[in-house]
């Protein structure tokens, strides 16, 4: 819990929130500790691993390097808002294709992938690689993550 000396208002997963925060609190801390949105994970808090990726006004950003006060008025999306009430196709693909093992990188991967798939039709493997290059996964060897993203991005994705 940060020591509040100001407040910030933003929309998180379609819900308007006003949170007392300290000026140096990161968005990661505010999401996890003040809003109890612990689906966003952290692997370094130095911008190295990509685990804490959330969407800020639709763009994937590292919440560990973002000051909460800099997101005033922004539209934030975390993994908790990704598939409500039913899982988003990318969540379904990750689950059904074994793209989540320990699950720790998964929320950041999912939001990165969602942003990517909204912008690219029928993505190439190279484009998928580039999109998730900032997200470290130690479990899967990336193959099933790539396949899951590819399955959702493919022109006829009957699995979804």
């Amino acid at each position: 819990m940060s020591r509040a000396s100001t407040t910030v208002s933003f929309t998180v997963n379609d819900e308007e929130r006003t949170v007392p925060v300290s000026p140096n609190a990161t968005l990661l801390e505010v999401l996890r500790e003040d809003l109890d949105l612990t689906g966003t994970t952290h692997g370094c808090e130095l911008g190295e691993c990509g685990a804490c990726t959330v969407l800020i006004d639709g763009e994937p950003e590292l919440s560990c390097l973002t000051l909460a006060i800099d997101t005033a008025g922004a539209d934030l999306e975390t993994v908790e808002g990704l598939g409500e009430p039913d899982p988003h196709p990318i969540q379904r693909a990750f689950a059904e294709r074994g793209a989540a093992q320990c699950g720790y990188c998964t929320p950041g991967m999912l939001l990165t992938a969602k942003h990517f798939l909204e912008r690219v039709d029928e993505p190439s493997r190279e484009a998928i690689n580039e999109a998730i290059a900032g997200n470290i996964c130690r479990c899967t060897g990336y193959r099933k993550i790539i396949e899951a993203i590819d399955a959702v991005g493919a022109p006829t994705n009957e699995s979804d």
């Binding site: 500790e33 994970t41 692997g43 689950a95 989540a100 320990c102 699950g103 690689n129």
Partner: protein, 800 residues
């Protein structure tokens, strides 16, 4: 399913769940961010703990002044070494740690004091106000340095041997006579660099001491809740029955969360001191210091072969850089010499190993525990030996491959053995013959094999009790709840457990509820290490499920007047196999059974067979079943820069039976990734002053998606009779052949003969110029005279 008809080796068509690629039971929570990792816990009144760590690699502590920190507003408790003086360690033979340094620090990053405060920032500021008076000593940072005489050893309790921590010396058969009889003898030296797990989740522990009843509850990111339970009791002088350990979902382990850690003990002690729950989550930098990763190992191997290309004898020496403390070191030392004999018949074998202490973070087990290093040396050596003989390396290996149901010279029992089949399949998939003959200069393919244990046959502390226990409750609703102390670390153990019970009960895995990893409510499982969970938990679960379903069959038999041996559990019903339209819904069946017998439930246990040899160190290596792997790696080397791409990896793995082929594939791909990452990039290097070169994810390079090649994985099924439904491990073994196969591919591409990891462009360039790349030699160290061990009796599978 109907157990009466199930025999190992039969077609898997009789199964409803087993053998199908299915969504893991933990997937839905994971993709929705609903999994609760330890750091996600935000108890009310939660205090934040921080550890003050030594900036000195080796120093005496003349004094610690905590008064300034203690008087800060918001600081709830400060502890130092005198508050936690009890020694602990994962292995009874190596209890050389304390939660906070006593009078000596042994590596940069060793905890010396701990603070609990109302928030993290206050705790951090308090650390800065703790004043430690260090008296620096000369640090020891290399194997050579550790073997040199010293009047200030890192540990004094070893007595007399300087910084030698562990020794192993064994001889099976007569190696000198075997060399005499050989037509050709070759020796090589190799160095396998250390590396670390770098699981994405930073370690975390939350401890809550309730002074009322006097009970401690700890939530930990751990692979081994049972061992943590015991070690907390030892470190804190609290009876085990007053400690409860929850193993939360773990965000990656790879062996890095199999030790008891200072932060766990300190969180508990701080909670006892301040009366509030205390959480300590390590930073990424601290995770590098917590380490327990792959030992750097220097190796020497000498092998004799006869005119037919058959190995007559082998002599193997390993020098392990252990870092500051013991960890799993006694086991690791023996593991560097244990499994060489499992893939090749070595009729005479000598192994000598020494683990030294250095002023670096403690090394321990990482995926493959102590075996990727010797596997690298062995596979490279065997390939070079084949070259000496002018023999095709595949043919040479095949002549020396072990087979099914035989006992090695060091008393290891091999049951099913898919080595030959893995080799055949992987070479065919990779189109090996043609590629080896036709790939242009600069491109190459390489080959290697490996083997790993499916669970250590002996526990870490000596006892005769089961290694896995499962308790099962059947509800009158037709659902089943399984209680087991196993720890889901991402490898899929929850899914294995749910799938096995579902198979026996004719349910879907999603119909099975799990209560796992809680020392108060779940029976013991020793933990997620040594690739033991699928086999051991699986067998215990089958026993429990079969016992629990028996009264249900009896009740249905009475109700429907069908003999119970004709009943089967399928698709949520108990049916007559002769006429599946005759049957009852499981819920109804349970209700009849419950009316007749009372609560329906059962327990199951698994204890590995007593198969170890009779010699010191014989506890390391035996397993109910060995997995086998064979790999082909293809590379494209830029001969101007030494840079190279790994283009594709083919990996065939003898998994016994793939209980869930999608999970097996995931384990293979993850193992290939981790093997490539450590062979190419990961470098556990320190300055001579004992400073880690880069304790961050940016400086410590690892493979990203951009460098990760396509992987073609092939599951070879040998139907292991000791495995649950025939299964063996898949989570560690597939890593083993990757580093040597990669090196072989580079050799095939450009002729460079590389004897060490990681294989950097600089080393490739050096190799291109025809210079040798690898260690110059081994230290002139006098090992003790080996224990001579009698040959075991011949064995061809009796008792399996």
């Amino acid at each position: 399913m109907s157990r009466t008809e199930q025999q190992p080796g039969e077609d898997s068509g009789e199964f409803d769940v087993i053998g199908e690629a299915r969504t893991r039971v933990d997937s839905w929570d994971k993709v929705r961010g609903r999994v609760e990792y330890v750091d996600d816990l935000h108890e009310g009144r939660l205090a934040h703990g921080k550890l003050k760590r030594s900036p000195e690699p080796h120093a005496g502590i003349a004094g610690i002044d905590t008064s300034a920190a203690e008087s800060m507003a918001g600081v709830l408790a400060v502890i130092t070494g005198e508050d936690v003086p009890n020694r602990f360690g994962i292995m009874p033979a190596a209890e050389d740690e304390t939660a906070l340094a006593q009078d000596t620090v042994r590596y940069v990053g060793e905890p010396v004091a701990a603070v609990a405060a109302v928030d993290e920032a206050t705790a951090e500021r308090a650390l800065e106000r703790i004043d430690v008076d260090y008296q620096p000593y000369e640090p020891v940072t290399s194997i050579d340095g550790a073997l040199a005489p010293t009047d200030r050893p890192i540990h004094t309790e070893h007595g007399g041997d300087g910084n030698v921590d562990r020794l192993a010396a064994l001889e099976f058969g007569d190696v000198e006579a075997a060399f005499e009889a050989a037509d050709h003898v070759r020796e090589d030296t190799f160095f396998y660099q250390g590396n670390t797990h770098m699981a994405l989740e930073e370690h975390s522990a939350l401890a809550d001491w309730d002074p009322g009843p006097g009970k401690l509850t700890v939530w930990a990111s751990t692979q081994v809740p049972h061992y943590i339970h015991r070690q907390l009791a030892k470190a804190l002088d609290i009876p085990e029955r007053r400690i409860r350990v929850h193993a939360n979902s773990v965000g990656g382990g790879f062996g890095g969360k199999t030790d008891p850690f200072p932060h766990q003990i300190c969180a508990a002690k701080l909670s006892m001191a301040c009366g509030r729950p205390v959480k300590i989550t390590l930073t990424r930098e601290e995770v590098f210091y917590a380490h327990r990763g792959r030992h750097p190992v220097l190796m020497w191997v000498k092998t004799g072969v006869d005119a037919d290309g058959r190995i007559t004898g082998m002599d193997f020496k390993s020098f392990l850089d252990g870092g500051g403390y013991g960890s799993y070191g006694p086991a690791t030392t023996y593991y560097t010499g244990a499994l060489q004999t499992v893939t090749y018949r070595i009729p005479n074998y000598r192994f000598r190993g020494v683990r030294v202490n250095t002023n670096k973070p403690p090394c321990g087990p990482k995926r493959g525990h102590g075996t990727p290093q010797p596997r690298y040396a062995l596979e490279r050596h065997v390939r070079l030996l084949a070259g000496d003989l002018g023999m095709d390396q595949i043919e040479f290996r095949r002549r020396n491959f072990t087979g099914a149901y035989e006992r090695t010279v060091n008393w290891l029992e091999i049951t099913t053995n898919g080595l030959e089949e893995c080799t055949t399949e992987v070479l065919e998939a990779a189109n090996w013959e043609e590629k080896r003959a036709t790939l242009p200069e600069g491109k190459g393919v390489g080959f290697a094999v490996g083997s790993y244990i499916t669970g250590a046959a002996l526990p870490i502390y000596w006892n005769d009790m089961p290694h896995s226990e499962v308790q099962l409750k059947v509800d009158r609703s037709g659902s089943v709840t399984v209680f087991c102390g196993e720890a889901e670390i991402g490898q899929g153990s929850d899914t294995v457990l749910a799938s096995i019970v579902a198979e026996v009960f004719g349910l879907e895995p999603e119909d099975v509820s799990l209560e796992v990893g809680d020392t108060d409510t779940t029976p013991v499982d020793l933990g997620s290490y040594s690739s033991r969970v699928t086999l051991m938990v699986g067998n215990a679960a089958i026993e429990a499920a079969e016992k629990a379903i028996t009264p249900i069959f009896e009740a249905v038999s009475a109700e429907l007047d069908v003999p119970s041996d004709r009943l089967a559990a399928r698709a949520g019903r108990i049916v007559d196999e002769r006429d599946p339209s005759v049957g009852l819904d499981l819920a109804e069946a349970v209700q009849f059974a419950e009316a007749e017998y009372g609560l329906i439930g059962a327990v199951g246990s698994y204890t590995p067979p007593a198969i170890q040899g009779e010699y010191k160190g014989a506890g390391v290596g035996p397993t109910p079943a060995y997995s086998f792997s064979a790999a082909v790696v293809q590379v494209d080397v830029d001969t101007d820069t030494g840079e190279f791409d790994v283009e594709k990896v083919w990996l065939a793995h003898d998994v016994g039976r793939a209980l869930n082929p999608m999970s097996v594939e995931g384990q293979i791909e993850g193992s290939v990734y981790m093997g490539l990452s450590e062979a190419l990039l990961e470098d556990w290097s320190f300055t001579t002053g004992g400073q880690h070169y880069g304790p961050s994810m940016l400086d410590y390079k690892s493979l990203t998606v951009n460098e990760m090649p396509e992987v073609e994985s092939i599951a070879v099924e040998t139907q292991e009779p000791r495995g649950p439904f025939g299964a063996k491990e898949a989570g560690q073994g597939p890593l083993l052949p990757i580093p040597p196969a990669l090196t072989d591919a580079v050799q095939d591409a450009i002729g460079a003969d590389i004897h060490e990891t990681p294989i950097t462009p600089r080393k490739v360039l050096k190799g291109l110029k025809g210079r040798s790349v690898g260690p110059a030699g081994i230290p002139d160290f006098e090992f003790p005279e080996p224990d001579r061990v009698d040959r075991p009796d011949e064995w061809s599978g009796g008792g399996v």
